[in-house]
Symmetry: C2
């Protein structure tokens, strides 16, 4: 039986699941200690009121024969695709609704997009990296090429001298919190055009950008529509981690060997996907109303203040880091020459705080550690207090 043997090249478990299990085991063994998780990038603030109202209204519609909705378009309802096209106008990007595909989250599409490429396709992935790019590439039998992201290049590597077919880029970056400038992204677009490569641009954290000089979308860069696909999500923008909605933009201009990737993806999605719940799409639509923008901006400001508190604590300890500005992640160097696994254990056992060891994101993460700003305010304050106390002993 030809089982897909590529799976055997994967590590036993998905990284975040394994981290979560180790933390839970500690918590069970120490029921008296309150664990604070600054590890998995999950939001803690509730859905904003206008989204909840939209969800409730849509649920009611589904209960009446006149307003009930069955199968929707696999690529999403026009009302939501139009709202997203409107959002892009903020950055002077003009999209057709047919270029926007509603998804159940960026994670699904970032993995499934590899269906469009043959086994053996070379995939360039910065290290450290969101593990999904690596694991999905392994499952699909792709040839992975790593590119070092390090303190030397401010964790924003520029294109290499060798060829790659497909490139994963994430900005604002998970895990490092580093954000590409427009010039940096232009270098990548130029590389992709020269190499006839496809840029897979993960913009899941764009809503955290406050610096007006930084690009929110790859399509702010000249030529990107001919070489890039962008993956976005309501997860971090509007607290949809448990509500599940995202979108993927594939410009019609993007052709490889005369084949339209927009068309191939449409064919993939109409065959292997049945769209996002109507109710959820109505909730997502509300995010783009004036009230929705106001409410989600407020929730993001809450997390940005958390990031500021974490940065302030690290500054006090003279620990170097990137991120935490224009990004919800803080990527810190492990103190005291500890490697990231040692520091994970140290923080868990001495501070009862859970973070993500950098090694889980790649070899260049060996001496780094990721903290997230998605926690509850009091938890973040308490965690930083504990870390400062521990380190000051």
């Amino acid at each position: 039986m030809p089982i897909n043997r590529n799976f055997q090249q994967l590590s036993e478990n998905y990284f975040f699941s394994a981290i979560n299990r180790r933390a839970s085991q500690f918590a069970e063994a120490h029921p008296d200690q309150r664990l604070i998780r600054l590890s998995i990038g999950d939001v803690t603030q509730p859905l904003c009121p206008c989204v909840v109202a939209a969800l409730e209204k849509a649920a009611q519609e589904m209960g009446k024969v006149d307003t009930f909705r069955g199968y929707g378009p696999e690529q999403g309802y026009p009302f939501l695709r139009e709202a997203i096209a409107g959002y892009y106008k903020k950055w002077n990007i003009s999209l057709e609704t047919e270029e926007i595909f509603i998804s159940d989250g960026a994670k699904s599409d970032l993995g499934n997009i590899l269906d469009l490429f043959s086994e053996g396709t070379s995939v360039l992935i910065p290290d450290p990296v969101y593990p999904v790019y690596v694991d999905a590439s392994i499952m699909g039998g792709k040839k992975i090429l790593f590119l070092d992201a390090s303190e030397e290049n401010s964790f924003l590597p520029l294109p290499p001298a060798f060829h790659a077919d497909v490139i994963f880029l994430c900005s604002p970056n998970n895990p490092t919190g580093a954000v590409y400038s427009k010039d940096g992204l232009q270098a990548w677009v130029d590389y992709a055009l020269a190499e006839k490569a496809v840029l897979l641009f993960d913009g899941a954290y764009e809503a955290f950008i406050t610096d007006p000089s930084l690009p929110h979308s790859i399509f702010e860069v000249d030529g990107a529509k001919k070489c890039a696909i962008e993956f976005c999500s309501f997860s971090k923008k509007a607290g949809f981690t448990g509500t599940r909605c995202g979108y993927t933009v594939i410009p019609k201009e993007l052709e490889i060997d005369g084949l339209s990737l927009n068309h191939l993806w449409l064919r993939r999605q109409t065959t292997k996907f049945n769209g996002v719940p109507y109710i959820v799409q109505r909730g997502a639509e509300a995010v783009f109303t004036p009230q929705g923008e106001q409410e989600t901006t407020k929730a993001i400001a809450y997390y940005q203040e958390n990031a500021r508190i974490i940065r302030q604590g690290l500054d006090q300890l003279s620990i170097s880091y990137t991120g935490g500005e224009n990004a919800p992640y803080i990527w810190m160097r492990c103190p005291g020459r500890m490697d990231s696994e040692q520091y994970f254990k140290f923080l868990l056992e001495h501070c009862t705080v859970v973070g993500s060891p950098g090694i889980g994101f790649g070899k260049n993460g060996k001496y780094f550690f990721r903290l997230t700003a998605f926690g509850d305010r009091e938890d973040v304050k308490e965690a930083i207090k504990r870390i400062i106390n521990c380190m000051s002993l």
Copy 2:
């Protein structure tokens, strides 16, 4: 650039999308005529009251910090997996919650499950068939072997004399409405065990079975836990076509070459999927409450009565068919020696009724036509009246 060339072996469009477009074009050209669609298998009855109440309650929970839910388990919340395990007890099937994976619908999982098998894996598919099995197999570079389903074998083919690695079976069948007996399924399980093959059993329509002698689940058959995966859906059972929820059962006993498919699928889902919306899972949970069972049974009875009306009309015209009992589909022989495309055109132009030409489901569908019982009662009555009038001229 190594684009997945398998996509080029696909027909230009997903079959149902193409049918829908042809019907819409006719409707636009004839705004005075009211089109009745008995084609795509989409439900028309609203979600039942207890499901709507559960959706609303869950939406409210998501709006409060104390009850908000972020990322859930990729494989689904225990509350829903336990409710499903409870449902299987009806047929004396005992499942562990870890054997149940909540999905966003059977279509996604039926396609994505092929990720677990290498390119070149032989996939046995009855003809006629739900096009997703074929298209997903082509995309994944599988080797397709067809098995004839015809009037001769009552559209319930038994295992062939040759080997296959993977077999797609659907009972109650889409498109033919034929339902395997326990003996029929036992023959397939015996074949799969002998060939060390994997049965992919699509049970999306099990809720339409009324004959107590017919199996609802492949796991009612001895040995199935060692060779079968079952795909189910709330789409037809509870009107979730626009709400999106299903489940896939992979027994822990199912091992191929010493590899647990349950484990491989968990690895696939944790990497390339982020679970079903919490709200939707609460809605699905309500289906299994006593009130939910009562309300969904009532909705199914409505469609069953539609099926009876369609059968009665065909009987009156002495047209032969299968299905419509224990199944929402009626698979009729095209009258007057027309082939299915001619009959599609005939029905559309003379009766303004849309059905699905059998050829879209495979070569053995060339002289057959699928009608569905999912319409509105008055529409079904009107459609049958029009068909009888047309045919009686």
